[in-house]
Symmetry: C2
Subunit: 221 residues, 2 copies
Amino acid sequence: MTIHPESEGATRGRRSAVVTQQVRDMITDGELAPGTRINERVLVERLNISRTPLREALKILEGEGLIAIRPNAGATVVELSPEDVEASIEVLVGLEAIGAELAAERATEADIAEVSRLQAEMVAAYEERSLMTYFHLNQEIHQKIIDAARNPALSRVYAGESTRIRRYRFAGNRDLERWARAIREHEQILDAFARREGPLLRELLRAHHLAGWRAARAAIE
Amino acid sequence: MTIHPESEGATRGRRSAVVTQQVRDMITDGELAPGTRINERVLVERLNISRTPLREALKILEGEGLIAIRPNAGATVVELSPEDVEASIEVLVGLEAIGAELAAERATEADIAEVSRLQAEMVAAYEERSLMTYFHLNQEIHQKIIDAARNPALSRVYAGESTRIRRYRFAGNRDLERWARAIREHEQILDAFARREGPLLRELLRAHHLAGWRAARAAIE
DNA sequence: TTCGGGACGATTGCATGCAAAAATACCGCA
DNA sequence: TGCGGTATTTTTGCATGCAATCGTCCCGAA
């Protein structure tokens, strides 16, 4: 089969990058559940590409810890135990501890305005009870705060680890009461960020994550 | 060209993993210097494989941040500025801060014995002025302390970030005086680890890394 | 009925071919 | 000689073919 040049926006040289993002999204959005076997032929037909870029994408996702490849036996979506997720959250909290103090120092007014804007959008999503939108904005706010620390290594590592466990945190706000509390916590977080109170920001983030995970863990089990 | 089954120990299904490690070593050991253009044909001939597993390996190493691939224009070994390395070290120090306290709590006697053994080997390498051996043992000690925290996510992230900047820290002990001081610092570190003094261990590690990087940075510039 | 084994089909791993893009060499012109 | 533009070579990106391996189904024997 020949790919016509006008088919899709997949430019030559970015096929595997595009495919990687597509499969990554399928995993983090829950379409491919943990434990699912990934069949190359099925995905190849669905994404309308050949096996080569798909296999490259799978290798990349294996490196990110999203899938596991057993030689000669295919790839499966990694299944994390609650303990695994908790370990990752421990790391994320540690990374935010570094990030919070740096971000409080180094954030520009534009950074603060941006987070503030996202926060408003997120509250709107909450009021519409649009969980998916809320969830993505939530992630984006945390990443933006980390990015404000102006440490590219920190941003990269945080993004990777955050993506890895995204799916497992999603269940956290099924409980409406927890969801409302999360919104209030986020208001405090934004406030501490805007006032550049590093240590306070650090503690608020820590508490926020631990509470969020407790809720998610309870919902999962 | 057909690969004969008896050639090398490269079993089917692990070709790209083996190649990834080979190329990774070439980069971290300095054979492929930062900025070097990676030519597929050259590596393919040298490693005696086809382009497919090599290209998979390159994608993986790109994910690890060791190389950069520009579409249609090949891969180059990533060149980190002193600021980039410093950013990574900031992250590593943060990760060790989490790890130190957990390791002090959770380390088994076997963990402590193992680090103690590695420390003795490392001192021996120092006395023989065997910089390469010293350097590898040094890395291994830090990783083992982190591993003692029994947090797989932490171990993984630490190993990745550590590998990424390994090459840039190597220059640190060219100065014999700094090398001697590093050895003394390591003795204190081992002591704090063995006594399970978490906060002290954390501070010693932080000081050790910052001093080491100051020396390496001075040597590079 | 259940267990073992062998044949068949499905699936993966790797090599290779071909076309697109980039890099390089070449040539005419000023 | 220096420069711009074009032809040629090199290199990359992707599709595909073939062989090895795995999984499954079916059949016969206990």
